[in-house]
């Protein structure tokens, strides 16, 4: 005879009610075990999206030129060097295989929103630069009639606690209106330059080639034209290097995540082990009275599902509640259904594996041993 679902449900609820304190501790233990891995998973997902956004889909067709530091400070123009405007003109007319040339100049200055001042990194970019990325804008874009600028999502959250679109700001000497937000450079302000020759600070050029096959040929020509003042590289190589640098930079976070995950797994295993051990005698007696191991397993599984679901709901409630604060001071998180489902699925997988291991003794011949073991 198989136990009916209603009987199982009643039995599960009765068991949980009978040991309220233990149930509360189980839920707390599970929740605490999952809190950090879930937060780190949400943060990793955010970083993954940011990384995806900042990759250039046509990296194999893009060549990057990077201004090498001269002897004079960035604010002072070295007359002996070829100017950025000259370089831009050379690159544009270098070869018919060149599709577009875009630039990014970076310097530091004061960001003012009329209420406070902040020392930030400012970039001057041309509209074509934003089109090189998979997804440059998180929200908004380059719109409006006046001077447009784009603010990084992190900076925006830190300064205004949310979106800064529509605000009139001053970045360095430039007055502009925030028309978009980006996750590509999330702590910077980007001024969209509509005029040629608005270069400030340290400059990079991005030369997009029409055909893949022409990249190396044009790279050689650019190297010849640029001389020793510019570092010239293929963008796919730069991206590969940046990826390994990112991994190195995240080594500490990965180490903590792995240790946290191990802690969570052991926590689940320990809690389930203790839960099963506590009931061994009861299970032995019930088996002796004719209960089927399958019923007991189903009951245990049901209890686990109730406890872990409550714990995970608690975890996500806590994460959603602290998310604005965490994003402002600690790290950004992306708590989307994929993260939640992954955590639920992973938890279910662990529970099933641990359940199978822990209930392998629920077999008829071991009844006396089960009863004795507890004593």
């Amino acid at each position: 005879m198989t136990a009916s679902p209603s009987f199982l449900l009643m039995s599960i609820l009765q068991n949980l009610r009978a040991g309220k304190r233990t149930t509360a501790l189980l839920i707390l233990g599970f929740a605490v075990g999952w809190l950090l891995p879930a937060a780190l998973l949400a943060s990793a997902r955010h970083e993954l999206f940011a990384l995806r956004d900042r990759t250039m889909p046509d990296a194999r067709r893009i060549i990057r030129l990077e201004e090498l530091p001269g002897l004079s400070p960035p604010s002072v123009r070295d007359v002996a060097r070829r100017s950025e405007a000259e370089m831009f003109a050379i690159l544009r007319d270098l070869d018919p295989g060149v599709e577009s040339v875009s630039f990014r100049s970076e310097y530091r200055g004061i960001l003012s929103d009329g209420r406070s001042y902040r020392f930030v990194q400012i970039q001057s970019v041309d509209p074509a630069y934003t089109e090189l990325f998979r997804q440059y804008f998180r929200s908004g874009g380059i719109t409006g009639e006046g001077r447009a600028c784009v603010v990084g999502t992190g900076l925006s959250a830190e300064l205004w606690g949310g979106s800064g679109i529509g605000r009139n700001i001053r970045a360095g000497a430039v007055f502009c209106t925030v028309t978009g937000e980006t996750g590509v450079q999330d702590r910077r302000v980007m001024i969209v330059e509509t005029e040629e020759g608005s270069y400030r600070g340290w400059t990079q050029f991005f030369v997009k080639v029409k055909e893949n096959a022409d990249t190396d040929r044009i790279l050689g020509k650019i190297r010849q034209a640029a001389g020793n003042d510019w570092k010239v590289e293929r963008m796919d190589e730069v991206e590969r290097r940046e990826w390994s640098n990112t991994l190195a930079a995240y080594a500490a976070a990965i180490l903590i995540s792995l240790a946290t995950l191990l802690f969570a797994l052991l926590n689940i295993g320990n809690i389930m082990g203790l839960m099963v051990r506590e009931r061994r005698k009861q299970h032995g007696i019930r088996l002796a009275l004719g209960a089927r191991p399958r019923t007991i397993r189903a009951e245990l599984a049901g209890e686990l599902i109730v406890v872990t679901t409550a714990s995970l709901l608690l975890v996500f409630a806590v994460l959603l509640a602290v998310r604005p604060l965490a994003e402002r001071h600690v790290f950004a998180m992306r708590l989307d259904p994929a993260v939640m489902l992954s955590v639920f699925a992973f938890n279910l997988l662990i529970c099933c594996a641990a359940g199978l291991v822990l209930t392998r003794r629920l077999r008829k011949p071991d009844i006396v041993r089960l009863v004795r073991e507890v004593e």
Binding site: R21, T22, L25, L26, L28, G29, V32, G33, L35, L36, P73, P74, S75, V76, Y107, R108, G109, I110, S112, Y117, R118, F119, Q121, R170, G172, A173, V174, F175, R200, A248, A249, A251, A252, L255, I256, A259, T260, L262, F263, L266, N267, G269, N270, I271, G273, L274, M275, R277, E278, H329, V330, F331
Partner: protein, 412 residues
Amino acid sequence: MTGYIVRKSLLMIRRHFKVHLLFALQTAAGIAVIYACLTLQYSTAAQYREIKKEIGGVVWEVNVVSERPSDRPPLDYAQYARLKERFPEAEFPFCIVRTVYYTTDGTEIRTGRLLYASDDFLRVVLDADRPGFERGSAAYAGGGMRGLLEGRYRLIHGHMPPAAADGADGSGAEADAELAGGLAVLPMEELGAGRTRFTHHHLENVPLEQIALLPLASYYPSFRPEEAGMFQLSVRFGPGADEDAAIAGITEILGHMLEWGGEDYHFVVGSAGERLLSGYAEIRAGASAAGIIAGICLATVLIGLAAVAQILFLRRRRAFAVCSALGARKAVLFGEMLLEIALPSLMGGLLGAAACSWCLTAWVQVPPIRQSPAVMAAAAALALAPGMLAACALAPGFRRLRPIEMLRRDQA
């Protein structure tokens, strides 16, 4: 009795070997998380302390970048006075330098510098306290420059102040003259400067003899747009000034200057100051984030471990109650429980801290990791906390152990 407690605890650990092994492993993982977070926090906090120390007493050099030609100066005297009023705790060793070439006898060409300086410049750079100099009518000049200002020597190239220009061609030279604009040129010795040469950035090693110090306010009537790039405002906050206040102060000064400069000028701090300004905010944010993460990890790991330890003991309450009924002292039972949980936890803690230390050394280079034996010892010692927390939570229950009722409930 102590020997009995230790023997009994070891016996119980051996009997519940699997449970304690898993608990020790969980403690090891938890302590590894705590140690990694504490080390990150320790490293970033050390960086933060270093940058704070570096900020103390630094001279911030504010340079001007001309965005478009303008006939107004990047910082006029009234604006400078407003800055002084707004930041009374800051010093502004501000000077504008004009280089001039002159000849004494028509054959030898000499280089001289006209320094339009502030009071703070005299005090900070030359150790000369002359309050009111910057808007006064006294000028100090070294031998050759005094001759030029008084019109005894001939100007070859450069721009002289209008007041002195009348006499600079040699025609209107008056010995010991009070110049037409009311500027009295005094010998440099009368300044009572604490040094004979400059040690100030681009004036490094220039002798005072080749300098004429003029009041800052006297520069503005003769401002020329091409001289905008010569403006270099230095700002120094007192050695005892708070680093946060210094950072906020220099940011606000830059903000005000930008506002006054409109779209004509952009202001940047020197590379050393720029590194401190951008690095300070980044390191402070990193240190506080690491602190918050360490705190959260500490709390969650301790709560998680304490919950497991408490479940571990809850199931043994009946056994404790029976022992108590048979005559065992509650203090002994409590001690036994504490030791039973402390030993595996401590083992786990030591293992976790050591393993994490090795991993951090081997794999993590960014941010620069600084490990401290004190942090490691503290993390390992924290392994005892969950057991203690669980034991403390159970302690009130130990006083109310009712074995008969427990057994009766069991029979029911």
